[in-house]
């Protein structure tokens, strides 16, 4: 008779379903399909899809690549810590390294141009959280993620670390300039 007793109808799987329930099941099913197709649609026609280009890497390999990139492309240094500002060359390849507790180096990009930004961490998990535009990507040690980014508007952007990475987590702030 109720949900805490065995079904009163022994052959409960043979009792018909009411029209109202069928309609709601139908609606729920169709809405699920719409949401499913929407993700696929966005891969075809949307302009914001996370890249699938990923390589296995190591701390040493990724550090070396980033250092080579910084050496070749540094245009100036900033702050007391002399953090290099790197402006990627015409090919648009850039490296961004996450470590305890900094994003290295500072990047200087141009609006409307597409860049291939190689993202990885050399120690713990970190979170790439670009503000104020609000794009959030997980950064995992051992994985080099090549994300294609096209800045839309000039400005000064901050990279907040939004994956907990220890006691200095809150001071891990990076910068991207878009000219």
């Amino acid at each position: 008779m109720s949900a805490i007793l065995p079904p009163s109808d022994r052959l409960w799987w043979k009792t018909p379903i009411s029209g109202q329930e069928w309609v709601w099941i139908g609606i729920a099913f169709v809405w699920g399909m719409i949401m499913f197709v929407m993700m696929i649609y966005w891969h075809v026609n949307g302009k914001q899809n996370l890249s699938n280009e990923v390589y296995k890497t190591t701390t040493e390999m990724f550090t070396a690549k980033t250092e080579a990139f910084v050496k070749e492309n540094t245009i100036r240094t900033e702050t007391e810590q002399q953090i290099p500002v790197a402006k990627p060359n015409a090919k648009g390849e850039a490296f961004l390294l996450a470590r305890l507790w900094a994003w290295y180096p500072i990047l200087e990009l141009e609006a409307g141009k597409t860049y291939k930004i190689h993202l990885s961490s050399v120690d713990y998990n970190h979170g790439f959280s670009l503000q104020p535009t609000n794009i959030n990507i997980q950064v995992i040690p051992g994985y080099e993620h090549v994300v294609k980014m096209t800045p839309t508007k000039a400005g000064t952007y901050s990279i907040v670390c939004n994956e907990f990475c220890g006691i200095g987590h809150h001071s891990m702030l990076g910068r991207i300039y878009v000219k």
Binding site: M1, A3, I4, L5, P6, P7, S8, D9, R10, W12, W13, T15, I17, G19, E21, W24, I25, A28, W31, M35, F36, M39, W42, H43, G46, K47, Q48, N49, L50, S51, T79, I83, D123, Y124, N125, G127, S129, Q131, N134, I135, N136, Q138, I140, P141, E144, M149, T150, T152, V160, E163, F164, C165, G166, I167, G168, H169, H170, S171, M172, L173
Partner: protein, 564 residues
């Protein structure tokens, strides 16, 4: 020799050993809820920018305690009690192997204390998720493993009890819907715990130096088969409790046994895939993998929740209409017992879980939209409206029922009992909303300082983000008061409440009468469908909110930088 008592007020039959196990498991859960609640207050007061109570190291330690004690220890202890109730009590049989059930209980006690000790020693502030290669002390992992083994044994006792009931023929036909839902929860729990063992065992070995490395991406994938799936145990458990409360308070009967059971079956088939929800912005998985898994294979588990969201209020409406409350669309709801905390808690849980937790969860779990919210304050905002206003509030509501019948004590301070579900449910729902608001503006979760002190640069969050965080503080404190009130009411009633008669004890269980005969006698077959127009309106309102909010987020996404 098993002994049984029949509660004179509810007619529920308790086997005495199961009775004691349920009480001890529930009380252990409540004690962890107390620790979780105190740490919740400290977390809130630190994230409230105007107060910022704790220093960074203590904040991360306390946040780890809060996550682990609430999401694992409180909930799973209580769920073990629910499993024993749904099997031994509802099927009126003895509990299989009570000695083993006690061993499971003590394993869980030892494990949960061990992990808490590890965290409070200060070397294991690694958050609930403990992502490698950040390392905790070995006994942090060992405690969780022991607890999980205990919980797994508890599930085994539950399965065994189902077998006992069938063999002893204490019921005829199929198991009740609530027991079926609990069975769903237990099956998901087995999967979850095995996944947890699969990753925490190697991590334990790594922490003592026996394994060189655990891959950081692999860890995330397998760990979330524990972390997210364990929340799916909660969904199955609290949906079962919704049905239970609807049955006890209204005598409500499922609109259709077939539909409700099929929806539970969809949970078993598809909820496991939820691990993907945490990996949508990760490098290691392909877009195809993400799309298929995050949608629970084309949203079949979401469909299941939408079905329960319809059939639970639908069952209540049908029961109320049969009693003659047939005026207009909502007389059945207006004249529901809003002063009964069992019902009010359950209904707030249903609405908050559906409108806030459900919708935000699906939006957050959309592959591309996830990039707007991944690791922001939106994420805890979402799960405080699923695990807290959904599961915890449902557990609180059912406790108002269990204290008199299981613990045989009268609830004290009935006026406060009436207020508590509203105080806790509404403040926690608003808390979830403002947390999601802050997350939409980009504010990070698990972050000690919005002002980034010590950073080489400055970043100023928008003023609205500070406003949202201030509101988070205010409503968080109110929610802690509401939760604390519940603990006070329950503990006070258990200690000082009027003792109630437990009912006559007998050596033999009284089997459940054959329901098909009873139904035949009273002439209420299952073919009499009652129209539930009020529920249809509620469900359509949910759908409209869902669709609008879903597409608004695609609009937000289209405005950020191009990514490919």
């Amino acid at each position: 020799m098993a002994q049984y008592r029949t509660c004179p007020r509810t007619g529920l039959q308790f086997e005495l050993e199961a009775d004691k196990l349920m009480r001890w498991n529930a009380v252990a859960g409540v004690l962890w809820l107390l620790v979780g609640g105190i740490t919740a207050l400290l977390v809130i007061l630190t994230r409230w920018p105007a107060i910022k109570l704790l220093p960074a190291d203590q904040f991360y330690m306390i946040l780890t305690v809060h996550g682990v004690d609430m999401l694992i220890f409180w909930i799973i202890f209580f769920e073990i009690a629910v499993l024993y109730f749904a099997s031994s009590t509802l099927l009126r049989c003895r509990l299989a192997t009570p000695k083993v059930a006690w061993a499971a209980f003590w394993l869980m006690v030892v494990g949960s204390i061990m992990t808490n000790v590890a965290i409070f020693q200060g070397e294991s502030s690694v958050m609930f998720t403990s992502y490698v290669p950040m390392m905790a002390a070995p006994h942090f992992y060992l405690g969780i493993i022991l607890f999980a083994v205990g919980a797994l044994i508890g599930c085994g006792v539950f399965f065994g009890t189902l077998v006992v009931a069938r063999r002893d023929k204490t019921y005829t036909g199929s198991i009740p819907l609530v027991t079926f839902g609990a069975l769903t929860a237990a099956i998901i729990a087995v999967f979850t715990i095995l996944a947890g063992a699969g990753i925490l065992l190697p991590t334990l070995l790594w922490s003592v130096g026996l394994i060189k490395e655990v891959d950081a991406q692999l860890y995330r994938m397998v760990w979330w088969a524990l972390g997210h799936s364990s929340q799916q145990i909660n969904v199955a458990a609290h949906v079962s409790i919704w049905y239970l409360i609807a049955a006890v308070v209204f005598g409500a009967k499922p609109l259709s046994e077939k539909v409700s059971r099929f929806a539970f079956l969809l949970y078993i088939l598809f909820l496991q895939l939820a691990s993907a929800h945490h990996l949508l912005s990760d490098p290691g998985m392909s877009a195809e993998w993400k799309v298929l898994n995050t949608s629970y294979f084309m949203y079949f588990a979401v469909m299941a929740s939408m079905i329960h969201g319809f059939t639970v209020p639908g069952a209540i409406e049908a029961a109320q209409r049969k009693k003659g409350l047939t005026n207009g669309l909502f007389e059945w709801l207006r004249k529901a017992p809003w002063g009964n905390p069992v019902f009010s808690g359950m209904f707030i849980s249903l609405v908050s879980f559906g409108f806030l937790g459900g919708i935000s969860g699906v939006v957050l779990g959309t592959e591309q939209i996830n990039m707007l919210m991944h690791n922001t304050f939106y994420v805890p905002g979402h799960f405080h409206t699923t695990v807290v206003t959904g599961t915890t509030l449902a557990f609180m509501a059912v406790t108002y029922l269990l204290v008199p019948t299981l613990f045989r004590r009268e609830m004290m301070f009935p006026k406060l009992c009436q207020i508590q579900p509203y105080l806790f449910g509404i403040s926690m729902s608003v808390l979830g909303l403002v947390m999601m608001g802050a997350g939409t503006l980009g504010v990070s979760r698990r972050h000690w300082d919005m002002a980034f002190s010590g950073a080489p640069f400055q970043y100023e969050w928008p003023g609205a983000a500070y406003l949202m965080m201030g509101l988070t503080g205010i409503f968080g404190v109110i929610a802690v008061i509401g939760g604390g009130l519940w603990i006070f009411l329950v503990v006070w009633s258990l200690l000082f409440g009027k003792k109630l008669d437990g009912g006559p004890v007998s050596d033999k269980p009284t089997p459940i009468p054959d329901q098909s005969l009873a139904a035949h006698a009273s002439g209420t077959g299952s073919h009499d469908h009652v129209s539930v127009p009020g529920t249809v309106v509620l469900a359509m309102t949910l759908l409209v909110c869902f669709v609008l909010y879903y597409f608004v987020n695609w609009k937000y996404l289209s405005e950020v930088w191009g990514l490919s």
